[in-house]
């Protein structure tokens, strides 16, 4: 199967390969001071994972850093056959989920209709003035904030899958393993998350979120 054409701006993949393996090996063998060098390329992904679950910057930073410390303390348990980034994200997700359960964090009411099951049909909303938001728009903090807010309105079960799959770029299998759900559930939730976010972003035009931004008009079928 070929890629239907989408081009992803993948976040950092480094330090992959032999360099990362050497670093891991050095840390496991006692050069503990090298740990920060090992995790530094992933700190943004770790923080984003925690933030997607906790939806609070202070809590997310604390959880992300605690996850790093746990990774530091348990680095010898890491096995080379796994991806270090996935292992790190797994620890972060566990730490964040544990905190959310413990602190009973109140999440925003999702836009998803909770009466519907995961497998029920979903009809995308019609928008008269949908426009594509170019990646360059992400340079603007207000756009990033809008996107982040939109993500925050999703039900956690959709947000977590979307975060791992589309923001952390884990594959379907890895996402399923990190969250402890089936690959079928990952696919279903991912579909819902993508379509709901599409609806939110499109609605943003009607609500004037992006009205001052000179975006190209997209498909406008209606």
């Amino acid at each position: 199967m070929s890629d239907p054409g989408i081009v992803l701006n993948n976040p950092e993949q480094a330090p992959a390969g032999a360099c990362e393996r050497d670093l891991i090996s050095s840390v496991q063998n006692g050069q503990r001071e090298l740990f920060y060098e090992l995790v530094k390329p992933y700190e943004r992904r770790v923080y984003a994972a925690a933030l997607a679950i906790l939806r609070n910057e202070h809590d997310a930073e604390d959880a992300a850093q605690e996850a790093m410390l746990k990774a530091f303390a348990n680095i010898r348990q890491f096995r080379a056959e796994a991806r270090f980034s996935t292992w790190l994200i797994q620890i972060t997700v566990n730490e964040s989920l544990m905190r959310r359960r413990r602190e009973r964090t109140v999440v925003m009411e999702p836009i998803d209709d909770r009466r519907e099951g995961e497998d029920s049909d979903y009809a995308p909303r019609d928008f008269a003035d949908w426009r594509e938001i170019p990646s360059e728009a992400l340079e603007r903090k207000e756009v990033r904030q809008r996107l982040s807010n939109a993500l925050g309105t999703l039900d956690p079960k959709y947000r977590e899958v979307f975060m791992l799959r589309d923001m952390q770029h884990l594959n379907i299998q890895e996402t399923a393993e990190v969250l402890g759900i089936s690959t079928a559930s990952v696919k279903t939730r991912l579909l819902r998350a993508r379509l709901m976010l599409r609806d939110l972003l499109a609605a943003g035009w009607e609500q004037g979120w992006f009205s001052r931004l000179p975006f190209e008009k997209g498909n406008k079928p209606w």
């Binding site: 199967m1 943004r44 009809a123 990033r144």
Partner: protein
């Protein structure tokens, strides 16, 4: 206007396309379905719009720019890791290196098991050493106990095959043919203990109140040495 409830020149309905649109973006549909969906998108502007919007979502959120950390995050993380590392180093200095976390889990796991074993071995060895140094012969009844206030120059009788000393004429002297007379001080020094019959007045049981809270089987070695001390005065 497209009829969304009907097929659009292709075999697929809009609802079926929506269900598969995420898999389509991920390249996770077979060739037949892909072909059918592409045909559908060409004919159905609404589904094409949904596809474009979903792709836009994936494109935007997948961008590295969406992964922001608060100002100072890196510095705070580095400082916490440094603190943790320093604490580990300090703990490693306090405890033997081979049980510190920094020394390796396999070694420390082994050491964790060996610690109590080594302690037991050392304790047992120490007891054995004390026992060896204190008594010249282990041939002693468990009922044996050192005497108290035995006059050191008192003449007592010993014999072969026993580590008990007696008053002359005691009917409990073992192997009378080998009787020898020595001083009580010498007998105690040689590891003999007083006969529980003929020397009863000098036994601990005669001094109720002095050690009545002590275990009757208290360390006989210490008692014997104590006895030897005052016996030598």
């Amino acid at each position: 206007m497209v009829n969304h409830d009907a097929t659009n020149g292709a075999a697929l309905k809009c609802e079926e396309v929506w269900r598969q649109i995420s898999n389509y973006i991920d390249g996770d549909v077979d060739a037949t379905l892909r072909s059918g969906m592409e045909e559908h998108f060409r004919a159905c502007a609404r589904c094409a719009s949904v596809l474009a919007g979903a792709r836009n979502v994936v494109q935007l959120y997948g961008d590295e720019l969406m992964l922001e950390v608060p100002a100072g995050f890196s510095q705070r993380l580095e400082r916490r890791l440094e603190d943790k590392f320093e604490r580990e180093m300090q703990e490693a200095k306090k405890s033997p290196v081979w049980i510190s976390e920094a020394a390796g889990s396999r070694w420390s796991s082994w050491a964790a098991w060996m610690m109590p074993v080594a302690a037991v071995v050392l304790f047992t060895a120490a007891l054995a050493l004390v026992d060896t140094l204190t008594f010249h012969s282990p041939a002693k009844s468990i009922l044996a106990e050192p005497g108290h206030n035995i006059p050191p120059d008192m003449l007592v009788v010993i014999s072969d095959g026993s580590k008990v000393f007696h008053v002359a004429g005691c009917p409990y002297i073992h192997d009378k043919a080998t009787e020898r007379t020595i001083t009580a001080k010498q007998a105690i020094h040689d590891g003999y203990v007083p006969c529980s019959r003929c020397m009863r007045q000098y036994l601990k049981t005669s001094f109720v109140g002095r050690h009545d809270s002590e275990d009757a089987n208290a360390d006989a070695g210490e008692e014997a040495e104590e006895a030897l001390d005052w016996a030598g005065r």
